[in-house]
C-alpha cells in the first residue's frame, strides 16, 4: 500500500464502517454475522501477515493470542449489566483494548525466549504455545473451563469490526513502510545480512510478534462479543492454520492479497452452503439439485486450496512482483 494513501484509506474506511453500522438493522442477521466473521478474519490475517509475511517468522500460534484477547475482554464486559449506548461502547472499547494488551503481553512472554530460534524450530514453539493457552483455559474454572464461557453482551457491530480492521491495515501498512519498518523486511530477506548491518533482529522479531499478538487479541474480543459463547476448543491448532492459510493464499507480505484471501476463505464455505440450498435450478428436475455440495462442502474447500496452491504458489492475489 502506498503510504500517502494510507491516511485517506483509514478515514474513508472508518466513515464507511460507521455508515454501514447505521443500516445494519436492515441486513439479514445471518449475513450480518458473516460480515463480522470477515472483519475478524481480516484483523487476524493482516496481523499474522506482519509476523509470517513481512518479518518471515513462521508462527502457528495466532489463535492462542486470539483466545487471550477473547477471554480477557469477555471477563471484563461480563462484570457489567445492561448499559446505555454510550456506556456500552465505551466499556467495549476499553475491554477490546485490554484484550489486545493482554495478548500483546502474552506475545512478549513467548517472544523473548523463543524468537532467537529460526524457521521450523520457531514454528514448533509457537504451535506449542498456542496449545498451552488452550489447555490453560480448559482448566481455568473461573472462565468456565471446558464448559465454556457465556458472553453476556453482543456488542460487536459493523463499526467496530470494520473500523478495527481498517486500523489494523493502517498500522501494519504504515509500519512496514516506515524507516523503522524496513527492518522487518530486512529480517525477512536475509537475517544474517541484516544482523551484519547492525539491525537487532531479535528486537524486530519480538516487536512484530507483540504487535501481531495485540491485534489478534482485539480480534478475539470482537469474536467473543459476536458469538457470545467461548470454548477453548474454538482456539485450537486448526484455527491457527486457517489464518496461516489466509496469509499464504493471499501472498506472504502482500496486505491487499491477504485481505482478499481472508474475505474469500470466510465466504467460501458459506457460499457452498448456499449453493447446496438452492431448491430449483433451470434444467434440473430434482429438488435441491446441488444438494450434494452440502455433503462434500469441506472436501471441495480443501480441493480448492490444493489447486490454488499448485497454480498460484506465490499467492492468489500477488499482482506485483514479490519484493526480493
Amino acid at each position: 500500500m502506498n503510504f500517502r494513501h494510507a491516511k485517506t484509506f483509514l478515514l474513508g474506511a472508518l466513515a464507511a464502517s460507521f455508515l454501514a453500522a447505521l443500516v445494519a438493522s436492515r441486513i439479514n442477521p445471518y449475513w450480518l454475522y458473516i460480515f463480522y466473521d470477515i472483519g475478524i478474519s481480516i484483523v487476524m490475517a493482516v496481523s499474522l501477515n506482519l509476523i509470517n509475511g513481512y518479518t518471515g517468522q513462521f508462527s502457528l500460534g495466532h489463535a492462542g493470542f486470539m483466545a487471550v484477547g477473547a477471554y480477557t475482554s469477555a471477563v471484563i464486559t461480563n462484570q457489567f449489566g445492561e448499559l446505555n449506548f454510550f456506556a456500552a461502547n465505551g466499556i467495549f472499547a476499553v475491554a477490546l483494548y485490554a484484550g489486545g494488551l493482554a495478548a500483546a503481553l502474552a506475545g512478549l512472554l513467548v517472544g523473548i525466549p523463543t524468537l532467537r530460534l529460526r524457521g521450523d524450530y520457531l514454528a514448533i514453539v509457537t504451535l506449542g504455545f498456542g496449545e498451552i493457552i488452550r489447555v490453560i483455559l480448559q482448566n481455568m474454572d473461573k472462565v468456565g473451563a471446558a464448559r465454556g464461557l457465556s458472553v453476556n453482551h453482543g456488542w460487536t457491530n459493523l463499526f467496530w469490526t470494520f473500523g478495527l480492521a481498517a486500523v489494523t491495515i493502517y498500522v501494519v501498512a504504515s509500519l512496514v513502510n516506515s524507516t523503522y519498518g524496513r527492518g522487518f523486511i530486512a529480517v525477512h530477506d536475509d537475517e544474517v545480512a541484516a544482523e551484519a548491518m547492525g539491525i537487532n533482529t531479535t528486537k524486530y522479531k519480538v516487536t512484530a510478534f507483540v504487535i501481531g499478538a495485540f491485534f489478534a487479541g482485539i480480534a478475539g474480543g470482537l469474536y467473543a462479543h459476536s458469538k457470545q459463547f467461548l470454548t477453548p476448543g474454538g482456539f485450537g491448532f486448526m484455527q491457527s492454520i486457517t489464518f496461516v492459510v489466509m496469509v499464504i493464499l493471499g501472498g506472504m507480505g502482500n496486505t491487499v492479497g491477504v485481505i482478499l484471501a481472508a474475505i474469500l476463505l470466510t465466504l467460501l464455505p458459506e457460499g457452498l452452503r448456499m449453493l447446496s440450498g438452492i431448491e430449483h435450478l433451470p434444467g434440473f428436475t430434482a429438488e435441491r439439485p446441488l444438494g450434494w455440495i452440502g455433503d462434500t462442502r469441506m472436501i471441495i474447500y480443501s480441493l480448492l486450496l490444493i489447486v490454488l496452491m499448485l497454480t498460484r504458489p506465490q499467492g492468489l492475489f500477488s499482482f506485483r512482483r514479490k519484493r526480493n
Binding site: 445471518y30 454475522y33 464448559r147 457465556s150 499482482f319
Partner: protein, 382 residues
C-alpha cells in the same frame, strides 16, 4: 496492476451489503410446508453422534409426512452441518432462522454447541429442542429452549446408586475427561451420589479427550485398589481405557454414561469391555411396541440398529410435531407454551414429561456389555 485497498474495500463492502439486504426471510409456516431447522455435527470429531441423531430426526419427519404431515402441511427438514466446530453452530442457526425462516430448531448432541445456538433461538423467539445435550445450562438460557433427554445430575446420580445398590461397591475411582464439560458434570454428581450413599472415593484421575495413553492414570488408580471405576467419557477414549486397564491387570468393572453409546466402542475396546456397564436413554431390546416399531422402521431405512442418539433425535422431532398439533399453530410463542405443557408424551426413549426447567423427566436405562453387545439390565425411574 495496482488495486488500492480503499477502492477495493468500498466496492466489496457495497456489493456484500446489497447481497445481504436482498435476502428476505420467508415465514416458517408460509406456503404448504412447515420448515423445521436442524443443526448437527454431521462431520468432524463427534460425527457418529451427529449422524445417528440426524437419522432419527429424519425418520420421524418422514413418518410424519407419510401420515399426512402436521396441521395439514408437509414438514420440510432443513439440516445444516456444524463440522463439530466451535463458532459454526451460531452461524448455521442464524442462517436457519433468518434466511430460511424456520418455525423451530432441533439440535444438538453436544452441550457446548447447543449453548452457542440457544441464545439466538431465545432472542428470535424460535422454540429449540435439544435431543441429547445433558448440560443443565442449556435450558437455563431461556423459556424457548427445551430438551427431550435427562440432564447430567440425573445420570451421575443414577450411576452412583447403581454402583452402590446393584453392584454393591464401597470404594470407587473416577477417571474423567477434563476437556469435556459433559464428563466433568457427570463426575461431579456421581461423586456427590456416592458420598450421599455412604461410599468412598478411592482415587480421582484426569485425562484430556484425544489422549491415547492412559497408563499413568490407570497405574495410580490400581494403586488405590478400588472395586469399580467410573469413566464418564466418550467412546473413543473409553475403549482405549478399558483395553489398557486390562493390560495393567485391573479386573474391577468399569462403568460410565451415555457417551459410551456407540457401535465403535466395542470395535475399539473389544473383549476388555466385557462386564462393564453404562447408563443411557434407550435400549432397542425394550419390548414396548412403540420401541419395536421404531427399531423396525429404522432398520428398514438405514440398515442398522438405532442407538440412543437416534431415538432421542426421533423423539425431539415427534414431540415438536405433537406440540404444534396441540398448539394448532406454528407460531413460536404458542408452540413454546404447548411444549412446556407436554405431559406423559409417549416417546421411544420412555414417557416424557416437561418439568418447570423445560428438562425432560423420564426413566434411564442401564446396559451391560456382554459378548460384544449391549444387554439391557434395568430401568431406573427419576
Amino acid at each position: 496492476m495496482k488495486i488500492w485497498p480503499g477502492q477495493f474495500l468500498a466496492a466489496a463492502a457495497g456489493a456484500v451489503l446489497l447481497a445481504g439486504c436482498n435476502q428476505s426471510a420467508s415465514p416458517g409456516a408460509g406456503g404448504d410446508t412447515i420448515k423445521i431447522g436442524e443443526f448437527a455435527s454431521l462431520t468432524g470429531s463427534e460425527a457418529t453422534f451427529g449422524q445417528s441423531s440426524h437419522r432419527g430426526t429424519q425418520l420421524a419427519i418422514d413418518e410424519l409426512n407419510a401420515g399426512g404431515g402436521v396441521l395439514g402441511k408437509k414438514i420440510q427438514l432443513l439440516t445444516e452441518d456444524n463440522q463439530s466446530q466451535a463458532g459454526q453452530s451460531a452461524t448455521v442457526v442464524r442462517k436457519l432462522i433468518s434466511s430460511d425462516g424456520v418455525a423451530a430448531i432441533l439440535g444438538e448432541v453436544a452441550s457446548s454447541r447447543s449453548l452457542e445456538a440457544a441464545p439466538i433461538c431465545q432472542q428470535n423467539k424460535v422454540p429449540m429442542i435439544s435431543p441429547s445435550s445433558t448440560n443443565p445450562k442449556v435450558t437455563e438460557t431461556g423459556d424457548y429452549i427445551f430438551r427431550v433427554c435427562f440432564i447430567d445430575p440425573f445420570q451421575g446420580t443414577v450411576m452412583a446408586n447403581f454402583a452402590r445398590q446393584t453392584l454393591k461397591l464401597q470404594n470407587v475411582a473416577v477417571l474423567k475427561d477434563v476437556k469435556s464439560d459433559y464428563s466433568l458434570g457427570l463426575a461431579k454428581f456421581f461423586k456427590e451420589g456416592v458420598a450421599a450413599g455412604g461410599g468412598r472415593l478411592a482415587a480421582e484421575q484426569n485425562y484430556s479427550g484425544g489422549d491415547k495413553d492412559f497408563n499413568a492414570q490407570l497405574t495410580a488408580i490400581k494403586a488405590a485398589n478400588p472395586d469399580g471405576i467410573f469413566v464418564p467419557g466418550y467412546y473413543t477414549e473409553v475403549g482405549l481405557i478399558a483395553l489398557q486397564a486390562k493390560q495393567l491387570g485391573i479386573t474391577v468393572p468399569i462403568f460410565g454414561g451415555d457417551g459410551w453409546e456407540s457401535s465403535s466402542l466395542v470395535t475399539i475396546g473389544g473383549a476388555a469391555l466385557e462386564g462393564d456397564y453404562f447408563s443411557t436413554h434407550f435400549s432397542p431390546e425394550d419390548t414396548a411396541p412403540a420401541v419395536q416399531n421404531f427399531v423396525k422402521s429404522y432398520q428398514a431405512k438405514f440398515n442398522e440398529t438405532p442407538d440412543a442418539m437416534a431415538a432421542l433425535g426421533y423423539d425431539s422431532a415427534m414431540m415438536l410435531a405433537d406440540a404444534m398439533k396441540k398448539a394448532g399453530a406454528t407460531d413460536g410463542a404458542k408452540v413454546r407454551d404447548a411444549l412446556a405443557a407436554e405431559k406423559n408424551f409417549p416417546g421411544v426413549t420412555g414417557t416424557i414429561t416437561m418439568d418447570a426447567h423445560r428438562d425432560a423427566s423420564k426413566p434411564a436405562v442401564i446396559l451391560e456389555i456382554k459378548n460384544g453387545a449391549f444387554k439391557y439390565v434395568e430401568t431406573v425411574a427419576p
